[in-house]
Amino acid sequence: GTVSVGAVTPLTGKLAVYGEGFQQAMLLAAEEINASGGINGDTLEIVFEDNNSTSKGSVSAIRKLITIDKLTLVFGPAASSNFLAICPIAQKNKTILIGAESAAAEITKCGSYVFRVFPSDLLQGTGVSELASSLGYKEVVLTYVNNDWGVGLAEVFKRQFLASGGKIIDELAHAEGKTDYRSEILRIKRHNPKVVVNLTYIKEGATILKQAYETGLNTQWLMGSASKSPKLVALAGKTAEGIIGTYPTFSQESPEYQAFKTAWEKKYSGKKTPIFGEYNYDMVKLTALALRDAGSVDADTVRESLLKVSQGYMGTTGDKSFDENGDVGATYGRWTVKDGAIIDYQVEK
């Protein structure tokens, strides 16, 4: 037999860029589970539903998964706005909803059936604030991508940074998906800041770095986790040198991660691991464990199992123990770019 779980994934629309990678990571995990006995002998199957990167699509998708496919466990969509649109539905229908990349602090309050293997913004915002303080910066310019993720993160950062006695010289949002950020950069340049906190995505981040360099802005960039990608370095080239960022660490040296990486490269010959791919992978793996433990797909049973098996579970992305809100903790590491490679940042002096 098969055990089916659902996945609301952005296969079309503006997040399709990421959706593809999420899907591949989930499929990889499912394949491995099935190769190692499946769910107590049954095959694990993931039913993907596209959400068109919109909340409308997300609602349609989860309604279909719940009603037609009669699934009791669904992997939620990327983008907190889409995730938030469906979490009440999951909660009301007693369907487990697990997110792998939704960071909004609100999700914590979604309810007892909602989990995520990705740490809340709350943690990351604090992480960036600590980074700035620990580097000795008292005054920063803050810029962030103007979407749910960027704003959520920026709010937390601001709160933490101000509380720790820092000062924000100027704060500006930059629109998502533009090709020209020069005027924003000029506004930053006017303050001649020693440091700029830039909470943004890969594409926006790379464009800003490149254009800042062209415009003659010399500053220390501090970034978040969403820009930590070889792609950013490839796009921004040498202008990415020396940026420092935080990210929820998980040791890339851990056996789990190494295993994931090898398996990925084997299945998707030579393709780079996608952003958040590890989280999706962990999510499926952890779910499989819970399903095995539960021995049924009954939502309440699986929920109990999830809480149980996750305690102390080490995935590729580290410790995935769910707390009572279905959130995971994280330790924040620091990364930097040196000679075109992303490496862990070490305080030199």
Binding site: L11, T54, V59, I66, T67, S81, L84, E106, N147
Partner: protein, 290 residues
């Protein structure tokens, strides 16, 4: 069942939305490419007010008023423009509204959106709640349909068509074209706002990314595919378009190919539109001449 209810609710909401656009586009010839703005204004007003503790019926009424006022304001600014200028100006207006929703964070929470929009308590939650909501949506759609049909089949609808065909002639015949068009636009905006209100209280979470140009194009498709300038057309269009979108979910596609599915689906979608225009440009239902 819930999924079916969901699809039906979506069809109802888009029917109302399409009827409202058809009133402007099909009857008055106003190519409003910013119609989503009024949907958004309705949705946000009602959501904000009811989240702020106002009784839902009152919030809904105020939301309709807000959409209507916004429609009147836009009419004031744009109705002096000729057809295509009008289209682009309205498109720009919708972008402006979206930017406002995105940036006025103190009021709208910006990109974080508004979660937990309440539904009337008597609907209950869970399964029955959905049926009740569907019932409300159906009643709303029927009312809107008959209201608009009454108006469009009457001399008023004909006068709108006169304006659509030739504004100079309309004036020579003593029709106050500005007022007529403004009326069409205000009514269209109120109805679009109504669709938005239903949407907000149905989904219970809204954010600016729900109200993009894509949505305007989506509803434009409903009107055009159904048959603009007709009363039944928008209903048929909303049904066909929403249904088609959901139908695609049931096509058996192996997951290895899933990377190609989405773009192919998009291509098929586009190709269908083109094909439709080549073979049946007037839409599934065509405008009758009495």
């Amino acid at each position: 069942m819930d999924y079916l209810y969901h699809i039906l609710i979506l069809i109802m909401i888009y029917s109302i939305f399409a009827i409202s656009l058809n009133l402007e586009l099909g009857f008055a010839g106003l190519y409003n490419f910013g119609h989503i703005a009024f949907f958004a204004i309705g949705a946000y007003t009602s959501a904000l007010l009811s989240l702020g503790g106002m009784p839902i019926p009152l919030a809904v009424v105020l939301a309709l008023v807000a959409s209507g006022v916004a429609g009147a304001i836009l009419a004031r600014f744009t109705l002096g423009l000729s057809g295509d200028y009008f289209g682009i100006a309205t498109l720009v207006f919708a972008e402006m509204i979206q930017l406002l929703l995105l940036n006025e964070r103190d009021i709208t929470r910006g990109p974080m959106g508004l979660p937990g929009i309440p539904r009337p308590a008597w609907m209950g939650s869970g399964h029955e709640g959905l049926i009740w909501f569907l019932a409300v949506a159906v009643i709303g759609t029927v009312l809107v349909f008959f209201l608009v049909r009454r108006i469009s089949n009457a001399p008023f609808g004909r006068a709108l068509k006169v304006v659509r065909e030739d504004e100079f002639v309309a004036q020579a015949l003593g029709k106050n074209t500005f007022i007529l068009k403004t009326k069409a636009m205000v009514m269209g905006s109120v109805l679009a706002g109504f669709a938005g209100v239903l949407w907000a209280h149905y989904i219970t979470y809204i954010s600016p990314s729900d109200f993009t140009l894509n949505e305007t194009i989506f509803v434009l498709l409903c009107v055009v595919v159904g048959g603009k300038g007709t009363n039944v057309g928008p209903l048929v269009g909303a049904f066909v378009i929403v249904f088609f979108g959901e139908f695609v979910r049931f096509l058996p596609i192996p997951s290895e190919f899933s990377r190609f599915v989405a773009p192919l689906q998009g291509m098929v979608y586009g190709a269908l539109l083109i094909f439709m225009m080549l073979k049946r440009p007037q839409g599934l239902i065509s405008e009758s001449r009495r």
